[in-house]
């Protein structure tokens, strides 16, 4: 989304969602992945808003939906292009906004001409009339319509194109720069926003300042009193390939269970094993830490001072309540010590000092001081000066001042791995409410085993019947990359031909041994949402093995 309208972040505040007239939720199992955001969505519905859910699965949120577009996996672009097609054909788009705030409209109009609702219906498996009605309703709610999306949109090999097709629709509807109207990626992890804000990206210095933009590198060289590398870096996905080819020889991994969370576990493990020297800094002996040469014990959030930035760009203070256990140290303390040993000359001692240096170099956060955070609570960036109140919704002024959003014509790209006779089912992965990510934290809280005791492969009753499966039966799920054993749960939450799994029980079921290592060619986000698999009954697979 950054390509089109500047920054990849929620344009609205979470609370604003409750005041919308229409919510279009695409590829987001909000009630389970972001329960507290789903409360604001449900409140909007109670206030009379329309809720249109676009998802192949019958998620809990679909019970609240005024319409559920149950699309085939990986067909988001045809759908969004068709919605744009209807809005343009029926002259329902926001003329004023498109003329004053955007560029590239005529190219888009030409591009989506062939994406008729009839064509999209065939590809997406959604009734023609539903597509037309959705476009009309979205257009009617112009200025009060918000789109929310998560990994169901981005975790595809065409993820960045998916996002562009979503943003196209937002611009046609004139839904930028307004309260209660926008395009909102809901961020997954507690500080995924802050990690990117801080410049932990191969192309960006803190505050999304591009390394290759004239003047940026020089500014940081002066402030840090040191020369900066000129060439942009490589992403994690690329690095993993280069590890296997011996080009990356050392890695420093902080707080990430790469082996379990990354696609194609076998590939990730082989990559790390091929690397000469690995440092892992974490709170537990994760599967990734086991592969390390040096393991450093870090402090948890309860032992650390600092900030998290949430999905709505709100910087909030995290405060240490206790001392780190044993000899563990906070991530900040460890890195300050390490940098000192590497001869980095800096006058920093505390998290507060670090934040002050960061905000002095990044105008997006300059006005956010710890003092203000203590007094006012969280503040939403951009916040350029200390008397700036923060920014609840984005693009209010930029659009007015003629900074345009760019329409990006994009085409349908099917998932990289298609089903075939040998692997006839699609595996899609996601989250459940009572487990988190790889389970290193929820797996250690008592009582959670009662809510979801183990991994489950959700499968449609029709498919279960065809395969002669009974509820709870342990089966083998295999892809071209590996196989796992898992109990089945028969439910019509999953559409025909598709099974769903999370990845929170790595000790028993390493779901990511199955997933594809295809990834989006712009952002390099892995295609977790679609890969081809096969289901075998255990007796059969054992018999075959013999």
């Amino acid at each position: 989304m950054a390509v089109m309208v500047g920054k990849g972040a929620m344009t609205n505040s979470i609370e604003e969602l409750a005041g919308t007239d229409l919510l279009l939720v695409a590829g987001s199992n909000t009630t389970e992945a972001h329960p507290v955001i789903s409360l604001r969505m449900k409140r909007a519905v109670r206030n009379g808003a329309k809720l249109i859910v676009i998802d192949p699965r019958k998620t809990e949120l679909t019970k609240w939906a005024t319409r559920h577009l149950r699309i085939n996996i990986g067909t988001d672009i045809p759908l969004f292009n068709a919605l744009a097609h209807v809005m343009i054909r029926e002259d329902l788009f926001d003329h004023e906004y498109v003329e004053n705030g955007t560029e590239g409209f005529s190219e888009l109009a030409k591009h989506v001409e062939s994406y008729t609702p009839e064509y999209a219906s065939e590809v997406c498996g959604v009734p023609v009339q539903d597509i037309i009605d959705t476009a009309r309703e979205y257009a009617a709610a112009s200025g009060k319509a918000a789109i929310c999306y998560t990994l169901g949109i981005t975790e595809h090999s065409c993820g960045s194109h998916n996002v562009q097709s979503v943003a196209n629709l937002g611009m046609l509807g004139g839904n930028f720069g307004k309260q209660n109207a926008g395009v909102n990626p809901l961020r997954g992890q507690n500080n995924v926003q802050g990690a990117s804000d801080s410049g932990a990206l191969p192309t960006d210095l803190p505050g999304y300042q591009k390394i290759e933009r004239p003047g940026v590198r020089e500014k940081f060289e002066k402030a840090w009193n040191s020369e900066l590398p000129k060439r942009r870096g490589i992403t994690k996905i690329t690095a993993m390939d280069q590890m296997l080819r011996g080009k990356i020889r050392a890695a420093y991994i902080m707080g990430e269970n790469t082996v379990v969370s990354d696609p194609n576990t076998n590939h990730a493990q082989a990559a790390l094993e091929a690397t000469d020297f690995i440092v892992v800094q974490d709170i537990f002996m994760t599967d990734t830490a086991k592969l390390a040469d040096v393991v450093l014990p870090a402090g948890t959030f309860a032992e650390s001072d600092g900030t998290f930035a949430n999905s709505e760009r709100r910087v909030q203070r995290v405060r240490a309540a206790i001392k780190p256990v044993g000899e563990a140290r906070t991530d900040v303390d460890i890195l300050l010590d390490l940098m000192n040993r590497f001869g980095v000359d800096q006058n920093l001692e505390t998290a507060s000092d670090v934040w002050d240096e960061m905000r002095s170099l990044a105008p997006l956060f300059t006005g956010i001081s710890y003092e203000r955070l203590d007094k006012e609570g969280g503040i939403q960036w951009p916040c350029p000066t200390e008397d700036h109140p923060g920014t609840p919704y984005l693009h209010k002024d930029e659009m007015d001042s003629g900074m345009p959003g760019y329409f990006a014509p994009v085409d349908h790209i099917p998932p990289a791995e298609q089903t075939d006779v040998e692997y006839p089912l699609v595996l899609t992965t996601g989250r459940r409410r009572s487990t988190y990510h790889t389970g290193t934290q929820t797996g250690r809280a008592s009582g959670f085993d009662l809510l979801v005791p183990s991994e489950l492969a959700e499968i449609h009753p029709y498919d279960a019947e065809q395969l002669d499966l009974s509820d709870g039966e342990v089966i083998t799920v295999s892809s071209r990359r590996g196989s796992v054993e898992v109990p089945v749960k028969i439910t019509d939450r999953s559409p025909h031909g598709t099974i769903f799994m999370s990845f929170a029980f790595p000790e028993l079921t390493q779901t990511n041994r199955l997933t594809s290592d295809a990834y989006d060619f712009i952002t390099e986000t892995p295609e977790f949402k679609a890969c081809a698999v096969r289901i075998d009954k255990i007796e059969e697979s054992r018999a075959t093995a013999d």
Binding site: P35, I37, R187, Q189, N190, N191, V192, A195, D197, S198, L201, E227, P229, R231, G233, I234, K236, A239, I248, R249, Y252, I253, M254, G255, E256, S261, F277, V279, F284, A289, D293, L296, P297, A298, A302, S304, N310, S311, R319, A320, I322, K323, G326, E327, A328, L335, L338, M339, R341, F342, A351, E357, G378, Q441, T442, G447, F448, L450, T523, P526
Partner: protein, 361 residues
């Protein structure tokens, strides 16, 4: 949520003038003036009910004396409010004693025995209300519930209905409701099921709105003394919503968490934030000292040994294969400040832009 206040009204609370917006309640004005009254049935998120009558105050409008419930009554221009007259205090004391007669002994109150003094017993202390002033109406119908999170002990229930309102209106889970009428009413899940078999998502909002010991956090009951607990404002460590929490500690030991009602999340939490955000911190499996792998096995090392080894190895590899043969991967789980240091370390400590975070997965 604060809404923009356009028209100002002037109200006098116990002789102190305060300004408040049109459409605001008397309770807002009382709190704005720095006073407080007990509000046992009030949770601002589901709006006033006016049923417990504890917030009754004397008001004078245009010279006419009245008594109104501060949570439901609107402020009007020139209104004079008296919050603690002798007769009102005596009235509150009697009302509290009637409520206390519906509950078990304050000495065993599950909430007061966990992390905060419950609202009922705080008010009883303030107004010197006796538990045994009236004949006891306990025990009431029990709701034994084998779930691992929410302790339900309706011998402490005062039928304020904050829990059912929060569950239905705020959380929109509709897991619990009121069963029966009058003195026979009780809080129940539909068809008297256990919570595990109900639509309950274990968000814990009922625990946190409950003004008594009827609903408590099973994991904390009996582990702390309410008076000794210290609170540290922080943020839930799970998803990108960033709900506010308080970390609860006693003598430097982490004992639990509770939602932060002053944060933008307004006290909301889900099952992870409410019940899974602190036990992992205290897990025996935490890494406690640096480890160095030798001949395929880890051995305990000092920080100096570990960090010096990293320096030596990284430097050797950089000299042999160039700085772009090293990568640093930062974390969406830790604080922004650590991420900032990580990218700075990669860029000027090592000399590479090979820095990425896990935002792609």
């Amino acid at each position: 949520m604060t809404t923009e206040v356009k028209n100002k009204l002037n109200v006098e609370i116990n002789g102190i003038e305060v300004g408040c917006g049109t459409g605001s309640r008397v309770l807002d004005a009382i709190r704005a003036a720095g006073f407080d009254v007990p509000t046992l049935c009030f949770d601002e998120r589901s709006g006033p009910q006016g049923t417990c009558r504890m917030c009754l105050v004397n008001v004078e409008v245009d010279g006419q004396p009245q008594q109104v419930a501060a949570c439901t009554a609107f402020s009007s221009e020139g209104m004079k409010v008296e919050t603690h007259s002798d007769s009102i205090n005596q009235y509150r004391k009697t009302l509290l004693e009637l409520l206390l007669s519906e509950t078990s002994s304050p000495a065993n109150c599950p909430k007061c025995l966990s992390f905060k003094k419950c609202e009922l017993h705080s008010a009883a202390e303030e107004y010197d209300a006796k538990w045994d002033a009236f004949p006891s109406l306990v025990p009431r119908e029990k709701a034994p519930d084998p779930n691992p999170f929410i302790q339900r002990d309706y011998d402490y229930c005062i039928s304020c209905f904050r829990c059912t309102n929060v569950c239905n209106d705020w959380e929109q889970a509709a897991a619990i409701t009121v069963k029966g009428r009058g003195q026979d009413n009780s809080i129940a899940s539909y068809f008297q099921n256990n919570l595990l078999d109900s639509p309950c998502t274990f968000c814990g909002q009922c625990i946190n709105t409950c003004p008594t010991g009827a609903l408590t956090d099973k994991k904390i009951v009996g582990t702390t003394k309410a008076d000794n607990v210290e609170r540290t404002k922080s943020i839930c460590p799970y998803c990108g919503v960033g709900c506010g929490i308080h970390l609860l500690t006693e003598d430097g030991e982490l004992k639990g968490t509770e939602p932060d009602f002053d944060a933008p999340s307004r006290g909301s939490l889900c099952v992870k934030g409410q019940f899974a955000s602190w036990e992992f911190v205290k897990s025996d499996e935490r890494l406690k000292y640096p480890l160095i792998k030798e001949d395929g096995a880890f051995r305990r090392a000092s920080w100096d040994q570990a960090l010096d080894l990293i320096k030596a190895k990284f430097t050797t590899i950089r000299d042999e294969s160039g700085s772009d043969s090293l990568v640093c991967w930062s974390s969406a789980r830790t604080v922004t400040e650590a991420n900032y240091l990580m990218q700075k370390f990669a860029r000027i400590g090592i000399g590479t832009n090979n820095i990425d975070n896990c935002s792609r997965t």
